[in-house]
């Protein structure tokens, strides 16, 4: 009888610590005491597994998706440049780089243009406005 009462008293002390035990927030000594108690107490083990089950249900709740426009809405509300308008900047920059590259390529081609004026007629039958046509025109191969 005395043993039962002692056991119940221990349960009363242990139970409020069960959730901290579950969360691994107890110091080493207390954790060991709870662990030892759980080994011998089916009632407290049952309570612990009930908390675990509740946590699992909470974690399994579907995540609420955030609207795709969320960040642009915040930016707009803050009076900032929106992500959409910033996205437009990227192709413009790319285009600028591409144009620069083509410009340098044309300069290089101009430099390598044959000075002797020999006509490469065997390669000169490219369709009008094709890259080959433009290239050979620049080289002076097409008149």
């Amino acid at each position: 009888m005395a043993n039962v009462r002692t056991h119940e008293m221990r349960c009363q002390k242990i139970r409020p610590r069960l959730t901290a035990y579950l969360d691994q927030e107890l110091d080493v000594d207390t954790r060991q005491r709870v662990f030892e108690h759980l080994r011998h107490c089916a009632v407290c083990r049952g309570e612990l597994s009930a908390y675990e089950e509740t946590d699992a249900l909470l974690k399994a709740l579907p995540k609420i998706p955030i609207p795709r426009s969320f960040r642009s809405q915040v930016s707009a509300a803050a009076g900032m440049e929106t992500p959409r308008s910033r996205r437009n900047v990227v192709p413009t920059r790319l285009l600028e780089r591409l144009m620069g590259f083509l410009g340098e390529l044309l300069v290089l081609m101009e430099r390598s243009r044959p000075r002797h004026g020999r006509v490469l007629e065997e390669f000169g039958d490219f369709p009008p406005m094709s890259m080959g046509h433009v290239y050979f025109k620049l080289l002076g191969g097409l008149r």
Binding site: P16, R17, L18, T19, A20, D23, E25, A50, Y51, T54, D55, L57, L58, K59, L61, P62, K63, I64, P65, I66, P67, F70, R71, Q73, V74, S75, A77, A78, M80, E81, P83
Partner: protein, 184 residues
Amino acid sequence: MNDADYVLIQATGRGDHGAFEELMLRYQHRLLNFIARRLGDRYSAEDLTQEVFLRVLKTAGQFEPRGKVSTWLFTIAYHLCADDLKRRRRQAALELDCRFQGRSLAALGKPDPALQGEWVQMISRAIQVLPDNQRAALLLRVQSELSYAEISEVLGVSVASVESLLFRARRRLREILDGQRKDA
């Protein structure tokens, strides 16, 4: 402390919009879900999550690197939710008065498609029955995975109080769910 978060908050304080957007990308889902589950209303949660980030933008320059950025963000969200819940309670009381005066009772919130499904509804309802500080502590722990120390910072209470809140929240939630199962 998460150094990357701290760098982002510092840059945001200097007016770096890219850093601010990165910060939003990192935390928007966690904050939205915390606020939505706390209020039980995802539509208002979107507005409040937006408000959290606007406050961050305004006050990023004053952030003191004593605690974690995540804890700071959840603290802002926690207080905004508390204000919103107070406003809702006042509004509900007012609408109750209106009903007694024979006027129509406006819907308190739109139905939430993300909270459909029987068991989801059951848990969502059970969470809403918990007292606000217990609900906040439980969501911060189980969904947002904050430590007791971090939760104590967010709620402005001791670590021992956090342990007590979480114990009572879980026990109460268990009782509610068991009661709902028996009814079903």
